[in-house]
Symmetry: C2
Subunit: 559 residues, 2 copies
């Protein structure tokens, strides 16, 4: 999937004003900027990197013509040309795309504004089913977590008898590890030591006793921060020696965005939709062998449970992937942020770390692995706190020292997010006052998600022209949709991806905001959308029926 | 100042084991890694960038020799060579240095551990005067801020009668702007709209009515995040066309670190220590003219009030800087995180934005400016929440759209930090229940800081061989120290910067952790250290007297 695919093709659908507005994320007049914006979004694909001197020279020459250029500004007065323009800015940034918050979401925000201004629409509200934002969809926070965070924020509450003792003891432990007993102090750049110790114990419990060294734990600003940091360490080289990173297609677009910004080569391997989005080693081998001809493959990224595809990988598959990484000398990156979101019977989460260590020293002492987790998903869904951690296995000590140094520049991850991460890995224990209620809340959320996963699959599969794999885990369905030839033609005439055309129409007609499959990548000629299963059950039912109704009318309209 | 100056020269002072330990940030055995580590830390300076194909090829070839290499591992079994090594990692990351959390701080952490393990030292505690971490130094958080944060974290408290009404109304306003009324939901990538509105109103009040558009406000993860993001937009080009950014010497090393990572050219302009660290336009011109011969200067960074130098710039100086930036077509970056930390009589903070607009449309409609603020400094000192904002003026609309897109990849800044930023710009107002107490707390903190600034200057200037400019603002003294020739020789024999040698000795003998001037850059042949004025007054007195005593004995020892 080309990093520059989505936006440019969607632009012609909209008036320049609107283009400016939604690319801008709302607000402000943006006159006459469409030309350059088109240039920016149709800039050469990844292969032509920012490091091409020719390109750099030409794009820069405008700022090197000695005397400042003059131009007539909007209010008619003479003004200098801008120092920073679309032609003189960092070219790698222009290649970045992130469909989950792309044009369709900007349009959704605009529609919400129009609704709030009383504009008539064929729907009463915009439903943002584009992103895994649990609390925004009405999921309630875990009481215990928020009690501890309140205690840490305002320690005077420690003398408040209405707070349970276990919440107070957790708060004290966290505050005692903070400089000046305050979440307002910087922490160590790697994260608060006691939190890293709790994370290590959590991982050992999760992995049936496989040892975990707190020095291998790095607390992060959400999982994204850790993933980008690891990729940053891995990139190097130019031309045919440029670092390549293998990512699944469909993928979570953080990966393509980060690789575009880092001018690394994105190596696509395709998941098998017919086999419930399973991962075939033969496909990994094909992708790798082809990539070796034009880049230096260094890392293999796996998302398990899958985003956007929702599959849960078998232990066997993980073993095969580890053997493949060892044989081909690839650094393994395991995105395991959905490790507690497993719903399907017979499915179970296996961490790459655990499987690696069960495969014996030949692998456990050699294969380099980074595993990522977050406070944003699972049963807690605390996205806004930007908490997360990464565990790194078998990393070279000198590289580790460089990693620690690199992280020190941004001082530390947000301490409230670190505190929250600590609570996630160190929740109430049996016998503690908050245990019963915590289990009740967690179970309720997870079983509701399991129910909604099944419901989504069932309803979508009743629609002719929609085929949905079981949502075994994570928080999304990613069904394959049949788009009539006439609609495909109309989309092409608009320079749009057919599934973007489909999703934009759905948004305008129903207020439902989904992400087109083209934003994640998909097999040529297939079309999908990603939809979260997060809305409350009743709302989800209505949502699914509206999707069904839309798909039927859309199909009719274009048949 | 070369980004690679500090660490390598400090290494020989210490045993390999210790080197590994403190570069690592504590913990874990690190055998035999010293060779590569030396290679890494003495890697070529900025001018030899990662984009040199030759270098990339050679450093990569090790991973391209087809079959995995075998080596004997510690436990004697055969194991594969690492995929990611100091030789095959991202070369730009190796060039990054950040002295504020560099080797000396790692050694301080180690000393703390040794003390806690009961090891005998000539001091009872380590005092980390290296970093502006107010709460760690015992400064108390603002009650109102923490009350609102507790209410936002655990809204059940909204029915608690012990919380003041204005805290509750602020909490409700923040929660109403959060998805699902929860700080656990993602915010817009640019930041919560109502917070950006409050920031805009704050800036208008601060700048005497100069208008501020909330669409120009971007909430950030601390000021560092905003600064790095802006630099990221500005870099481009290769070789003689490589983007250059002007930074003051002495500087805050975030700038040199970010420029090293982005492979941009660091253009040094020197502040005038004799004139109380003032900024001379002639020096800006000299630095720029020289730089134009080998790079493409694009931006000028100013830190006001100064870090580490503590000067507060006059309105005239700011006008001159703006004229210079306009004439030379430089993007202005104003680091104004210490805007409320002004102590010296006759000194006043003038924002670049306000001065720019008072200079009339020729400047206010053309000069591109980004200004940065944070929740970490001033009277609140809430570093751990990583809150901040940037205001961008006259940015090209297409670039702004690219900025918004780039920010969307990391989803959003931490919401608790956004909430805190909102409170900083929208504190209790006269007549509100919390107003009196808020003012009392703020005034107490700021006047204590003013007192400590004066005390620091006074005591240090009583020491023969220490010359300290008035600490007009910010949170640090940056005195010039005379180091005896014999000490300079001994340092050189150890391959150390003389002031690093001095600070390391002070740390080992007194437990006081300072940052050597070489970590910020300084005029050749001059030596300094940075010391925060943040410790409580009594503690600061002892601290200053210990510094005095150390300097005297050090001078004696080496005279």
């Amino acid at each position: 999937m080309s990093a520059t695919r989505v936006s440019p093709r969607t632009l012609p659908l909209l008036s320049p004003g609107r283009v400016a507005l939604f690319l801008q994320g709302g607000g402000g007049p943006h006159r006459g900027g469409v030309g350059p914006r088109f240039r920016s979004l149709t800039s050469p694909p990844l292969s032509c990197s920012s490091s091409s001197p020719g390109r750099a020279l030409s794009s820069l020459s405008t700022t090197r013509r000695g005397l400042p250029k003059e131009k007539m500004s909007e209010n008619g007065m003479m003004s200098r040309a801008k120092v920073l323009t679309i032609d003189t800015m960092n070219p790698t940034v222009k290649k970045v795309e992130y469909a989950v918050r792309g044009p369709i979401v900007q349009r959704a925000v605009e529609l919400e504004r129009e609704l709030s201004e009383g504009m008539k629409k064929p729907f009463a509200e915009v439903i943002k089913a584009n992103i895994g934002d649990a609390h925004a969809m009405g999921q309630q926070p875990i009481t215990f977590f928020r009690q501890v965070l309140a205690l840490c924020s305002y320690p005077e509450l420690l003398s408040d008898s209405t707070f349970p003792e276990d919440a107070k003891s957790r708060a004290c432990r966290i505050l005692n590890s903070c400089g000046g007993n305050s979440m307002g102090a910087y922490s160590a750049s790697q994260g608060i030591e006691s939190v890293r110790q709790d994370v290590a114990r959590y991982i050992e419990r999760r992995d049936g006793g496989v040892p975990c060294d707190p020095d291998n734990i790095y607390l992060t600003t959400g999982a994204s921060d850790g993933i980008v940091t690891m990729l940053k360490l891995l990139v190097c080289g130019e031309g045919a020696m440029r670092a390549g990173v293998m990512i699944s297609i469909p993928q979570y677009p953080l990966y393509s965005a980060a690789l575009a910004e880092l001018s690394a080569v994105q190596i696509n391997y395709y998941l098998n939709e017919e086999k419930c989005w399973s991962l075939d080693i033969s496909e990994l081998q094909r992708a790798l062998d082809e990539a070796r001809l034009y880049c230096n493959p260094r890392a293999l990224c796996i998302i398990n449970p899958g985003n956007p595809t929702g599959q849960v990988q078998s232990r066997e598959c993980i073993e095969d992937v580890i053997r493949f990484a060892a044989k081909e000398r690839l650094f393994l990156m395991a995105d395991e942020v959905y490790q507690d979101n497993v719903y399907a019977e017979g499915c179970q989460f296996h961490s790459f770390k655990k499987v690696l260590f069960e495969m014996g020293p030949e692998y456990s002492e050699t294969v380099e692995l980074a595993s990522f987790h977050s406070t944003s998903k699972c049963y807690m869904g605390e996205c806004g706190f930007r908490g997360g951690y990464m565990e790194i296995i078998n990393m070279d000590d000198d590289v580790k020292a460089q990693l620690t140094k690199l992280l020190s520049v941004r001082l530390c991850p947000p301490v409230p997010g670190q505190a929250l991460m600590d609570l996630v890995v160190n929740p109430p224990q049996p016998g503690e006052p908050s245990y019963e209620h915590f289990i009740k809340e967690r179970t309720a959320t997870l079983s509701a998600l399991a129910e909604k996963a099944k419901l989504t699959e069932q309803v979508l599969n009743t629609v002719e022209g929609i085929r949905c794999n079981p949502v075994q885990g994570a928080m999304y369905s990613f069904p394959c949709i049949t788009i009539p030839e006439r609609a495909i033609q109309e989309a092409k005439e608009l320079g749009q991806q057919p599934d973007m055309f489909y999703c934009m129409k759905m948004l305008e007609e129903t207020g439902i905001c989904l992400v087109p499959g083209s934003g994640f990548g998909q097999k040529e000629g297939t079309y999908h959308f990603r939809m979260t299963i997060l809305p409350p059950k009743d709302k989800l039912k209505i949502l699914l029926n509206n999707v069904k109704a839309f798909h039927q009318s859309f199909t009719q309209q274009y048949s």
